[in-house]
Symmetry: C2
Subunit: 324 residues, 2 copies
């Protein structure tokens, strides 16, 4: 029987509940804020220092020892890297770190390197430029036109992303930005979110789920509907063959002019995972089986019912938040 | 026993549940989108035309007749006005419209008129200007300084609102904006959200709840904590004496430099109402009593426990959305 520590559990209340329904014996939540509601869903919960604090690993390992943790699951971008870079320290304690290799994490976060790499592997990706001169050349060659989409080369979610309609504004942004930017073809077609589980032992994709995003709000999917297009599944499974991702994976795919384009890969549980879960994709259980030393069988051929999944807000009321 | 129709129920799943727990015999939800999750919480649900569609009232009155509705509750800004303007048509059918008078709605939506009115009544409000020349005069008189807050004179939530740090950008915004703007002192102090119920029969405030907003996201309160400051309560109750508001009221108040300032009044259920409800403010029941012809007793002196309320996302999965 395994015991899992979920790091930066934040507002992932549903995810914690799904783990509690799986065969994990104990689900422990940790966060640096005592106002993270998912903490209070877990069987046990701990306040830990911020990732950059020198006391971070001491606190994490102390929880692991006290709670006899054998699986650790990071959810946030920066924490993925931190845990992957210290994978050996977890392994030395008999703890499985559910995270892709560091090189894959870095490639997925550097959106321009990712574009070049995936394009080189023959995956359809949206035309992307990391300098204003490259963009101007492509623009004068009629390879791309306005409006375009501008975002930081390294970035999470929709932070700092915007639509730009003319060269003047684009140049001003590139001149004044404090961080490297990239320009991408603006995709106004349909958008899909993918949940994938790549077995931690066999390294093969075990389950795949696709949903079409029907409405977004502040970078999050508000409403979505199950997609069962076999062409999308084939496109995604072919694309990930080129990357040594492992564990739960979230992907964004666009569909425009009759073709799918890979937009990004986030090697972690996505915020839209509940749609996959209510459709039968039981990633918490796949992780539990891997933690027990078993490979998962493949669920790739399972037919899933068409479901509309609609997000709404619930609240958790706490009288006495955790004290550090 | 009363039966209520909640219009544009949208993502107000918790509110629908609270009404279902009250003494209403039946809670009916309506929305123009079949993907409004709160529809599926209600005892019965209907798709209706958009507010501006000529078939809107026919559809609403048909539901009222079929479901023997005697209370109608609008939630959205535009719908408040529409229902209040047609109050007589509801009254003629024996239906109580839970909404403030049209004049009050108009005053609350025109943020500059609201500022002038409340200031004239002696309520502390944030310095506000509706023309660049007025602002420049106040600026040269050192009455206000940058950064400032710019927002549309008529607007809901945080749409179109932004922080501005210099006169050049401010002037450009006023020149190019398609709608009237106003400039307000930027308040970087603490922010409070108020829930109030003004009895529909006695016209007196019946219950009051205050929370401090601890974290916002995309214009919504993510985390809040109960506030029991008697000075805040007195400030709010004094301010609303000057307005003929009725029913559920949401208010925003700032605290800066040792003083409370009224920011805005939204004469409807606020998105943060669940915090008030879990603290014992049972507005659905107050409405039910008014609908039965009874005045509510006052709960203004009730002491409320300090609670932290933390928002998270839940999902509703639907196989077959409503068809119109």
């Amino acid at each position: 029987m395994s015991r899992i520590l979920i790091l930066s559990c934040g507002t992932r209340d549903l995810l914690v509940r799904y783990f509690k329904k799986s065969s994990f014996e104990k689900v422990v939540g940790a966060d640096c804020s005592e106002l993270a509601p998912a903490l209070y869903e877990a069987d046990a919960h701990y306040l830990i220092p911020r990732m950059k604090d020198p006391g971070y690993f001491d606190a994490v390992f102390a929880i692991c020892e006290k709670e006899k943790i054998n699986v650790v699951l990071p959810l946030q971008e920066d924490e993925l890297n931190l845990i992957a870079e210290n994978r050996r320290r977890f392994e030395d304690r008999g703890i499985l770190a559910v995270v892709s290799p560091v090189e894959v994490l870095n490639l997925c976060r550097d959106k321009y390197a990712f574009y070049k790499y995936m394009k080189g592997k023959g995956t359809a990706v949206l035309p992307t430029y990391d300098s204003i001169s490259d963009f101007e050349k492509a623009f004068s060659d009629h390879e791309i036109e306005f409006p375009v989409f501008v975002k930081p080369v390294r970035g999470a979610g929709s932070i700092g992303a915007m639509k730009v309609t003319c060269m003047e504004v684009l140049k001003a942004l590139f001149e004044h930005s404090e961080e490297p930017l990239l320009v991408q073809k603006l995709c106004e077609g349909r958008e899909f979110g993918i949940d994938l589980y790549v077995d931690l032992i066999s390294k093969r994709p075990v389950d795949f789920f696709a949903k079409e995003k029907l409405r977004m709000r502040a970078g999050e999917t508000e409403k979505s509907v199950t997609s069962t297009d076999p062409i999308l599944k084939e496109f995604v499974l072919r694309a990930v063959q080129n990357l040594a991702v492992a564990g739960p994976i979230d992907m964004d795919v666009f569909f425009q002019d009759g073709q799918y384009y890979l937009s990004e890969i986030n090697p972690r549980f996505g915020g839209g995972f509940p749609h996959a879960y209510v459709s039968g994709m039981n990633t918490p259980e796949y992780i539990a089986r891997n933690a027990a030393g078993w490979e998962n069988e493949s669920y790739l051929e399972i037919k899933r019912k068409k479901l509309y999944v609609l997000k709404y807000s619930d609240v958790m009321a706490i009288e006495a938040p955790l004290q550090s």
